[in-house]
């Protein structure tokens, strides 16, 4: 088995264990989040030897060349020396611009970047409170000259990061931004294609950015947005999206909830997102679909839409993986 050297300590890799798991088992303090190769919180650097290609999946070419890799996805075939990289290589500072309370325990966090930050609407970044605590959030904005990035952050019961944002964070404070990552974004070149965007909870966030980007690129096909929540209050962007649909002829907004409440307006359907999707389009042949939010639901929708006739290459998804630490 390959040997791992970190901070003068040599550890033996065991079958099936990732570099991250091995380091944590040996008592090393390594930042990490999703442990599934998405959030990039466990980025490390190889200083001797090389890591398998899979450990660098999703990283920028420049980072790959520097030997950066994801410890959670790394199962080396050879002995390697590794270190925690200088964070300035991949994290940039940002200042809290505004915090806007939304319904359904969601706060909209706006960050002002000090320098231009390149990304595609719909991608996600990892936000760092300090060297130890990080979480990934989808960008809900598209790149603009004001250099403001916006995120929808739902309060998670007992969640270290979301509690900090909801209870303590104030405008003017600083945090660090890593990324962007993810391939769930709008690609220009097929302006008349019909788009289906489905999100539950804050799975809505990247979809808002994708719609803005599509409209900015002159998208002329129909754009159907389905936002699902458990309760009425979870449709935290309802009035904004109603306005958007009222002013853009090709944008259609389909809000739906699973639980009946007395104040439920007629315009909100009591139905699952799966049923609403079937009502919108029984055969999504030639459509492009964007699916974001709860991982189980995203997996089910992918299968449903594929079986209904959508090509796999036209299905983009961003399952929101829960943090593992």
């Amino acid at each position: 088995m390959a040997l791992l050297k970190f901070k003068e300590q040599v550890m033996e890799m065991t079958s099936g264990r990732s570099v991250l798991e091995t380091l944590l088992e040996h008592g090393q303090d390594i930042p990490n989040g999703c442990r599934a190769g998405a959030c990039q919180s466990c980025m490390m650097q190889v200083t001797r030897g090389s890591v398998p290609e899979r450990a660098q999946r999703g990283l920028k070419e420049t980072h790959k060349l520097k030997g950066l890799f994801l410890a959670c996805s790394c199962h080396p075939d050879e002995d390697i020396d590794i270190c925690l990289p200088d964070s300035e290589q991949f994290k940039v500072p940002a200042t809290v611009h505004r915090l806007i309370e939304r319904s359904g325990d969601v706060v909209e966090l706006q960050l002002k970047m000090e320098q231009e930050f390149e990304y595609h609407a719909g991608q996600f970044v990892t936000l760092w409170r300090d060297a130890h605590l990080s979480r990934s959030y989808s960008l809900t904005t598209m790149p603009k000259s004001d250099n403001i990035l916006s995120f929808h952050i739902r309060r998670i019961e007992g969640g270290a990061f979301s509690s900090w944002v909801h209870n303590e964070l104030q405008p003017g404070e600083q945090l660090l931004v890593q990324g962007p990552a993810g391939d769930c974004f709008y690609v220009p070149g097929n302006a008349s294609q019909n788009l289906l965007l489905v999100g539950t909870g804050t799975g809505l966030a990247p979809l808002i950015g994708i719609i803005q980007d599509a409209l900015h690129n002159g998208h002329s096909g129909e754009i159907h947005l389905v936002h699902g929540a458990l309760h009425h209050s979870g449709l935290y962007y309802h009035s904004e999206l109603k306005n958007l649909a009222a002013t853009q002829a090709n944008v259609h907004y389909h809000p739906c909830v699973l639980k009946q409440t007395e104040d439920l307006p007629d315009e909100i359907k009591l139905a699952s997102v799966n049923d609403v999707v079937t009502d919108i389009v029984a055969k999504p042949e030639g459509w492009k679909a964007y699916l974001c939010g709860d991982p189980d639901l995203v997996a089910k929708l992918r299968k449903q839409i594929f079986l209904a006739g959508c090509d796999m290459k036209n299905i983009y998804s961003d399952p929101f993986l829960p943090s593992q630490n």
Partner: protein, 123 residues
């Protein structure tokens, strides 16, 4: 000019691309076999299916009997048997019919698929 091979007659890589999603959709919709595909990563599965279709279409492939055995061992343990292989071959035929392949070519594809039956079933 040489006589076109089965793979060339079917349309080569483009035919595999056209067939893979139709075939996989049929497999996932068929209650006789879809339990074996529960919980698998669909995108990874599609690339595996491409490899499989390339092989049974008589195209270039690097499949070995050992790959077939190792890749299906856990499914045999879950009850994979001849009836499931029959079903897959039937769905393969239906896919090719839908794409307008000749009956004789479909028979040839079924013959290649049958040739790996014992490896798949770890016999």
């Amino acid at each position: 000019m040489s006589i076109p091979t089965l793979y060339e007659r079917l349309g080569g890589e483009a035919a595999v691309d056209a067939a893979v999603e139709i075939f996989y959709r049929k497999v996932l919709s068929d209650d006789r076999v879809n339990e074996f595909f529960d919980g698998v990563d669909m995108e990874a599965q599609i690339s595996k299916q491409k490899g499989f279709l390339t092989m049974v279409f008589g195209g270039p492939n690097e499949y070995t009997g050992k790959d077939m055995r190792d890749g299906h061992k856990h499914l045999v343990a879950r009850g994979l048997n001849d009836s499931h292989v029959d079903c897959i071959i039937e769905l393969l035929g239906a896919t090719l019919t839908e794409l307008g392949a000749a009956e004789t070519d479909i028979e040839e594809v079924a013959k290649i698929a049958n040739s790996v039956r014992d490896d798949v079933l770890n016999r």
